[in-house]
Symmetry: C2
Subunit: 215 residues, 2 copies
């Protein structure tokens, strides 16, 4: 399997999940500006015509896109890692999908995508921060007294930790106002799989920023 | 089971899926402004603290939120309706989730939510329409020569038909530029389950608009 990623993008959750599973797959870096594989210069558009990461290329050549779908596929591929409730636990699976959808639609796409864009107009950022503040408050309530989103670590935590990590770059969000969320993110950053992913991807992200400056 | 809905909201996809399955569940209308059950005045916040529809209340009282999770739960609850690839078809399920995630994050939350808000600033709408046009172009390509998103009708079609139907209210989007998408929506609107859902929900939506005017 090949996981196409860009440093610190939502694809980092796939890296975390694979590390939790002890799986070895090819991680292939895509430059998000040129939309090319960094090492080879190969065009990424044939892999995902929309140009965004992650994409998971299976051994038969099939490509999966959309992070929530990829994370569930990884969980199913390595069931012994217990990164999702067992398939027989229908309600547990439904709750996992509920969290993945909330993280993807409300937090990632609704809240963070506009705030992270360095070309996004200030009016758009202000509107976004106001509209989606309730989602952080909701998450803060849900995390009260909980270590993970579900009863144990799951791919939803890998995704949430990745998205919350972006708040380092969004001055519009003060995590101090959401203490359970802040404490959760600190716990996740200390988790070996997450700490290792950050240690690998932060230098790659800095290198990406340097390339952008030069270009 | 109780499905909490608001007229023409994404909850309509649950109504369509249930009709396809021939299932009879309670459909409970929520006023999206007052966040109360229309018939009883009951507060909706205890059902979904975020206030949005749909929510699916199971017979044991468990509440599921997030449309993608609810649609997959409905598909699993009525397997004989074949609204999703069978659970044994892992790749088929992954492809279903890929579409559900694309519809939810890219089309619903990314593109349509800002365009539909009557309080959304014009700058936000313009930024959104520009940023997400590529998603409609992508969908248009994917629908070339296909009747459905997967090989047969699935809950992803129920969701996509519901979201595309909103383009009636978004002058920023000209479906004429995406002929396969336009033809798909016309086919879906002619499908009995979708036509029946629209015939039920359009008058309820008009009544909602009337209440808003009065308030």
């Amino acid at each position: 399997m090949d996981l196409f990623f860009s440093p610190l993008a939502c694809s980092m959750s796939g890296r975390i999940a694979l590390a939790e599973a002890g799986a070895t797959v090819n991680l292939i870096e895509v430059d998000p500006i040129t939309k090319r594989v960094l090492a080879s210069g190969e065009d990424y558009q044939p892999v995902n015509p929309l140009g965004y990461v992650p994409a998971l290329r299976l051994d038969d050549g099939t490509v999966l896109t959309e992070n929530s779908a990829i994370l569930q596929h990884i969980a199913d591929e390595y069931p012994e890692a217990e990164l999702a409730p067992p398939a027989s636990d229908r309600l547990g699976r439904a709750k996992l999908r509920q969290w993945l959808s909330f993280i993807s639609a409300e937090l990632h796409k609704g809240l963070m995508t506009p705030l992270l864009g360095d070309q996004t107009p200030a009016e758009v950022k202000a509107w976004t921060a106001g509209k989606y503040a309730s989602r952080l408050a909701h998450l803060n309530e849900k995390l009260a007294g909980r270590e993970f989103l579900l009863d144990k670590f799951s791919v939803a935590d890998a995704y949430l930790a990745t998205v919350l990590n972006w708040t380092r770059a969004t001055p519009e969000i003060d995590l101090g106002a959401y203490p359970n969320v802040k404490a959760y993110l600190e716990r996740m950053r200390a988790r070996p799989s997450v700490a290792a992913a950050l240690a690998t991807e932060i230098p790659l992200f800095r290198a990406e920023m340097e390339r952008r400056k030069v270009a």
